[in-house]
Symmetry: C2
Subunit: 369 residues, 2 copies
C-alpha cells in the first residue's frame, strides 16, 4: 500500500512545482491521511524540498490499536513536547532543507498558526496550496471505492435490523444510539457522522439532533446514518411511516421527494455539471411547490470526510467524473407536520458500465412499520 | 437570562474599547455561545460599533428542539443563502455601521476567511481579539457551576450502573457505547467527548479509542467519560481491576497514581500557580520512576469545551482563581501491561469555603469487579 501514498504525494509535488513552490506543508487532517495512510490528530506532512517527512506531536507507531499508522517508508519526526505545533516544526524543517518557497493550506491554517509558520520560515516565500489535495481526493481509486462499498453495506445492515424492531414508544435519541451500536456490531469503526433520527414533526429535517420525542402511530420517521470504515464514510437516509396506512399527504410528499431523488440519481454521469444534478432534483420539488423549503444543495461528495467536494448545488462550478462517490439527498420538511428525506451514496460511472453504482441498497419503497 | 449574556458582552466590549477596537467579531463556536446563550454552528457575533448582531447562516429560532436559541433581546441577521460566511457578513455590517477598527479571533479564523473578512472591511483596521473571550470564560458563575454539577452527577450515575453489570467478555467498544447510552438515559444531551474504555494492555492510555479487545480476568479496566448538559461538559476517569484480587504491580501502580491525583487535587486553591498544581502531582509519579510516561499536563479547565483554559502544565503561566472548574487527571501506562488513570472534575474554592469542591464523587478506592 505504501506505493499508493507515494504516488499521491508525487502527484501533489508535481502540482506544487508547477505552481512555483519548492515544498508544501499539508495540515488538513483528511488531506494528511490521504497522502500518508494514517496519522495522529494534528500531524502535518512536509513534501520536499528533498524528502517527505510526517511531523507528529506523538509517536504514530505507539498506538498499535488505532488506524493511524503512516506508510512504513515515510520518515517521521516526533516533536519533543506534545504541545508543539507540527505545522511550525514542518516549516522549520523545510527551510533548513533549503526550500525558498513553501505552499501551505491557507483554508486550514488559522491566522495565528500561519504567523507562527511565517516566523520560523522567514527566509522562504509562503504560497497558498489552496484545495489542491481536496481536488486530488475527488476521484477515488478501486481500493477507496471498495472501502466505501463496505461502509455502505454496514449502514444498510444497521438500518435493516432497526426496521425489524418495535419502534413505537421509543425516543429519537434511543433509536439513534441503537443504530450507532449496530453500525459497530457490523464492523464499523464508528458512525460516519452524528446519526439523525426525527419522528413526527421532526422528520425530514436535515441534520436534526435527536430529542426525547417518542415515535407515535401515524408519524413519519426519518433516519440518516453512515458508517465509518477504514477512514471512509458512507451516508444513507430513509423515511418510513409508523402504523398501518400512511395519510394522503404523507404518500404525496413521499412520492415528490422520491421522484426528485430519482431524478438526481439519474442525472449522475461523467461530464454532467454539478449544478445540473442539483437542478434535476430541485425542479421536481419546485414544481411541487417546495422550492422555498429546499436546502442549499442536493448532494455532496463522500470519502475520507462526510461532506467533501464536489458540492451538488446551484452555484457549484465543475463537472462530474467517473469514480466520484456522491450522495443524492433531497428532503422536504413541512413545519409542524414533518417531512421526508431520501439519501443514497452512489458512484458515478459511465453509461457503458451500467450508469451510477448504488452503494446503499436499502429499499426506497414507502414502508409502513 | 438575557441579562447574563448582555453583561458578558458589555464586559468584552469594554475590553475591546480599551484595546482600541470599535467593534469585535467573535467566530469561535463556544465563544459565541457564551456571549449569546446559543447559536447555530458557524454563527458569528458582531459586537458594536452601535448595537450587537448575531449573524447566522440559518434561522436560529426555526429549530425549536435544539439548545441553540440566542437570547431574545439580541438582533439576528440570517444570511440569504446558507453557503455564506457569517463572519464575512458580520464584518460587512461593522463597516456599514461605521466601525474604523474591528477585532477578530485570529486563532480561530483561517487565513482564507480572514482574507475574505479583510476584503469586505477594507476601510477598517483589523486587530486581533486574541483569546479575550476564552479568558473571560475561565471563572464560572453560580449558574454555570450548577450546570456542571449536574453534568458531573450524570457521569457518576452512568459509571455507577456500569459497575453493577457483568464486564468480563464484553468489548471496549460496547462498554463505551453502553456508557454513552446511560449518559443520555440520565438526562445528558450527549457525551461530553468520545468515551474512552481501555482493557488490559490498553488501560491507562489517555484518549484511547475503544477497540474490540474483550475484558478479561486480571485486567485493569480504565474508563473516561463525561456528560454534555446544557452546553457544559464534565469529565471523570476511573480504573478498576477485573477479578477477585489485583496483582501486586497493579496495587502498587494504582497507589502511585492515586497519590499523585490526590496531591494535585489538594494543590487546588485560589492563588496557586497552574504549574504548581501540575508539579504537585508530577513529582509523585517522577519519584515512582514514571516521569517519562506522563502526558504534557495533569489537568485542564472544563466548561463549554471539554479542554479549555486553564491548562495545568509545567509551562503554563497564571494562577488559579476561585470558581474555576478543572480536571485533575494523571495517568500512567506501562507498554504491554496497561495502566491507571484517575480523573475528577473539581471547582477551585478558598479554604474558608471548604477547599476544592469535588463534582465527580464516584469512589476512588481500587475496586475489584
Amino acid at each position: 500500500m505504501s506505493e499508493v501514498y507515494a504516488a499521491r504525494r508525487a502527484r501533489l509535488r508535481e502540482w506544487c512545482e508547477a505552481g512555483g513552490s519548492e515544498a508544501a506543508l499539508v495540515s488538513g487532517g483528511a488531506n494528511v491521511r490521504y497522502l500518508v495512510g494514517g496519522a495522529p490528530a494534528g500531524a502535518a506532512l512536509l513534501l520536499g524540498p528533498d524528502r517527505d517527512v510526517l511531523v507528529c506531536a506523538s509517536d504514530p507507531f505507539a498506538d498499535a490499536t488505532g488506524g493511524s499508522r503512516p506508510a512504513d517508508d515515510l520518515p517521521v519526526l516526533v516533536l519533543p513536547t506534545p504541545d508543539g505545533d507540527p505545522a511550525v516544526a514542518g516549516a522549520e524543517r523545510a527551510v533548513e532543507a533549503g526550500a525558498r518557497s513553501l505552499a501551505v493550506e491557507e483554508h486550514h491554517l488559522t491566522v495565528t498558526r500561519h504567523r507562527a509558520v511565517r516566523s520560523v520560515a522567514a527566509r522562504a516565500r509562503l504560497n497558498d496550496l489552496g484545495t489542491a489535495v481536496e481536488q486530488q481526493r475527488v476521484i477515488k481509486d478501486d481500493e477507496e471505492i471498495s472501502t466505501l462499498r463496505i461502509a455502505a453495506e454496514i449502514a444498510d445492515q444497521a438500518l435493516g435490523e432497526l426496521l425489524e424492531s418495535i419502534l413505537v414508544g421509543r425516543t429519537e435519541r434511543h433509536l439513534a444510539l441503537e443504530l450507532e451500536r449496530r453500525l459497530i456490531d457490523h464492523g464499523a469503526d464508528g458512525p460516519a457522522f452524528a446519526t439523525s433520527v426525527g419522528a413526527g414533526p421532526n422528520s425530514g429535517r436535515a441534520g436534526h439532533v435527536p430529542t426525547d420525542r417518542r415515535v407515535e402511530e401515524g408519524d413519519f420517521l426519518s433516519v440518516c446514518l453512515g458508517a465509518l470504515y477504514r477512514g471512509y464514510r458512507s451516508e444513507i437516509a430513509r423515511t418510513f411511516v409508523i402504523g398501518s396506512s400512511p395519510a394522503d399527504w404523507q404518500i404525496e410528499l413521499y412520492d415528490q421527494v422520491f421522484a426528485a431523488q430519482r431524478a438526481g440519481r439519474e442525472a449522475l454521469a461523467p461530464g454532467t455539471a454539478y449544478r445540473d444534478v442539483d437542478r434535476a432534483a430541485r425542479v421536481v420539488l419546485e414544481a411541487a411547490g417546495h422550492g422555498e423549503r429546499l436546502g442549499p444543495r442536493i448532494g455532496h461528495g463522500v470519502g475520507l470526510e462526510n461532506d467533501e467536494d464536489p458540492r451538488l448545488s446551484p452555484s457549484a462550478m465543475g463537472k462530474l467524473d467517473a469514480c466520484v462517490p456522491v450522495t443524492v439527498d433531497p428532503g422536504v420538511h413541512l413545519p409542524g407536520r414533518g417531512g421526508v428525506r431520501i439519501d443514497d451514496t452512489l458512484v458515478v460511472r459511465p453509461e457503458a458500465d451500467g450508469g451510477p453504482e448504488l452503494l446503499t441498497i436499502t429499499t426506497k419503497e414507502l414502508l409502513a412499520l
